[in-house]
Amino acid sequence: MTTKEETVHQDQHPLEKSNILIEAKNLKKYFPVKGGMFNRQKSFVKAVDDISLKIYEGETFSLVGESGSGKSTLGRALLRLQEPTDGSIFFEGQDITSLKKEEMRKIRHNMQVIYQDPFGSLNPRMKVTELIGEPFRINKIASGKELEKRVIELMELVGLDPSRRNRYPHEFSGGQRQRIGIARAIALNPKFILADEAVSALDVSVQAQVINLMKDLQRDLGLTYLFIAHGLNVVRHISDRVGVMYLGHLVEVGEVEELYKRPAHPYTSALISTNPTPNPRAKREKVILKGEIPSPSNPPSGCRFHTRCPLATDRCKTEAPKLVPISEERSVACHYPLV
């Protein structure tokens, strides 16, 4: 757990006293692309390419980035819901990368997921009580009256009316369904929750309610969140630290307010400048990026952002920058950081 690389990396963080809950080292997830005659393997989509990252106990770490930047894949690979191609993952100091299926199942209750789609993440043929009670039944923790009691407790905890527990998910609204998903996720008292675009499918007022619920639960239950989101305002509201992803790389990591006020990577800067603000007359300088996000199966050489970066030089085209600390709380992967 203490190689030289890390000691330079992030250990200066103000949260250093708290423990690292989950850590990825040089994590890679490549998807093979097949095609042509006989389904030959043509290339790889490098959805997550050599990412190292630490998440501390009790914090909310957010991942932001465009669609296709590998945020969700990174989240799922961390929980081994998708097997990583290479690299290692540590959960509470334990290397879980090579755990067998059976051993992995035993620690799964510590890491849960809240999904994006409140319609797709609940089995339409199961009643709410079955949905929320499922984790108990799978892990043989409770049954019968005890199970019912736990379900009622959980429903109250997430702000659902327990008398509606014998209804089906289609009888609930999107926000309520998301609460069902949250109740299911916290049922086993996990330490770590991956919120994979957990509020993206909800409208803004419901988003706020669900996020406040998540924050309250974090405070009361001591949860650690990995929050994957599109909405930059939501991220700012909920996060302690933020990681910015671009084409499978982590380009910047830092404390949320710092990063929002003074982005160091040109991509972060562009991303944040386009974030809508409540005041329509506020003068802002938008950094509009040229072009589309390049294909992750054939990423640009050198710095992956050089094709769209306003500050790119010849060096950027050949030499890939590494994620290095630029201050106590900030790491950035850029040859010419803005701060």
């Binding site: 819901l81 797709g120 499922e134 892990n139 407790e153 109250e156 009316d161 008398s163 089906y168 009888e171």
Partner: protein, 311 residues
């Protein structure tokens, strides 16, 4: 883990329904609308499906109470009264051996419905298991099973059935096995495609994240969600199976005399089509009605179970 104060705070803040603190087991006033209940309600509104249902119930009753309805035995010959037109004594006339056609149709309903039931059940069970294994586990096992389905589907079904019966020998049981075999890939492919789409659903991943084993995921999540297309196909397949059994009977490869199998009755009546058309028309209409009945129910079920058809 649950803090009482917080509970109250949450419920007061966010509940729209102001009775969070009285969760008695029976406090539910309105019945939950289960997806099945909803489908049944849809089905009842469908007049065609209802008509199909009536037809099938009629034939089931006919088969069940056949001995009470007629004084004749289905193999009772009366050569003197052969090829009689319908009359008060012989409601639907007699055939070339003087057997009462109504009696034979009623007893034949038993055979046809049994053939349909067992052939469909066999094909459904085997096909569903293969389809689930192929769809859920994918990779080489999917390749293997799918190619077997392709091979079975490459033959015209009746030819394949004839081949199977030719190998096993001509009898009603063997015809039933043959019909089950030719229907396996139809169920298998249907289930496989459904499972492949279900496998990517988020609730399957949620179950995996909770540490659920594959067997349980299949039983609790995959199966209940793939029953709708299976039921529809089973109903439609019932009709096809009866038709195929009749075809095999007609070719002399199914039920053997003197069993009153409808297809066999058609074959026997062929020679008398001008002399006594009722001997041909009656079993033909019976086959048509049963198949039509099952098709109507099947179509109705499909509409009722398909969420896209909801109004």
């Amino acid at each position: 883990m649950v803090n009482v104060e917080n509970k109250k705070q949450f419920s007061n803040k966010k509940l729209t329904n102001p009775s969070p603190n009285s969760p008695k087991p029976n406090s539910e006033e309105v019945k939950a609308i289960s997806p099945w209940r909803d489908a049944m309600r849809q089905l009842r509104k469908n007049h065609f499906a209802l008509a199909g249902f009536v037809i099938i119930v009629f034939f089931i009753l006919l088969g069940l109470v056949a001995p009470l309805l007629t004084p004749f035995a289905f193999d009772e010959q009366d050569i003197i009264n052969r090829l009689q037109p319908p009359s008060a004594e012989h409601w639907l006339g007699t055939d070339h051996l003087g057997r009462d056609i109504f009696t034979r149709i009623a007893y034949g309903a038993r055979i046809s419905l049994q053939v349909g039931f067992f052939a469909v059940t066999g094909a459904l069970v085997v096909g569903s298991i293969l389809g689930i294994v192929a769809g859920y586990f994918g990779r080489w096992i999917d390749m293997l099973i799918s190619r077997i389905f392709d091979i079975l589907l490459a033959f015209p079904s009746i030819l394949l059935a004839i081949a199977v019966v030719a190998i096993l020998g001509a009898s009603l049981e063997n015809a039933l096995i043959a019909i089950a075999i030719i229907n396996i890939p139809i169920f298998g492919r249907l289930v496989r495609s459904k499972v492949i789409s279900l496998r990517e659903e988020e609730y399957i991943m949620a179950a995996k994240a909770q540490g659920m084993k594959n067997g349980r995921i299949i039983l609790h999540h995959i199966l209940p969600n793939s029953t709708a297309p299976i039921i529809v196909q089973a109903t439609l397949g019932f009709g096809t199976a009866i038709l195929e059994a009749a075809a095999l009977g007609f070719l002399g490869l199914g039920a053997q005399p003197p069993d009153p199998e409808w297809g066999k009755m058609l074959a026997d009546a062929r020679d008398f089509i001008q002399l006594a058309p009722w001997t041909l028309i009656v079993p033909g209409v019976a086959i048509m009605l049963v198949v039509l009945g099952f098709n109507l129910i099947g179509d109705g079920l499909r509409d009722a179970l398909d969420p896209k058809m909801k109004n």
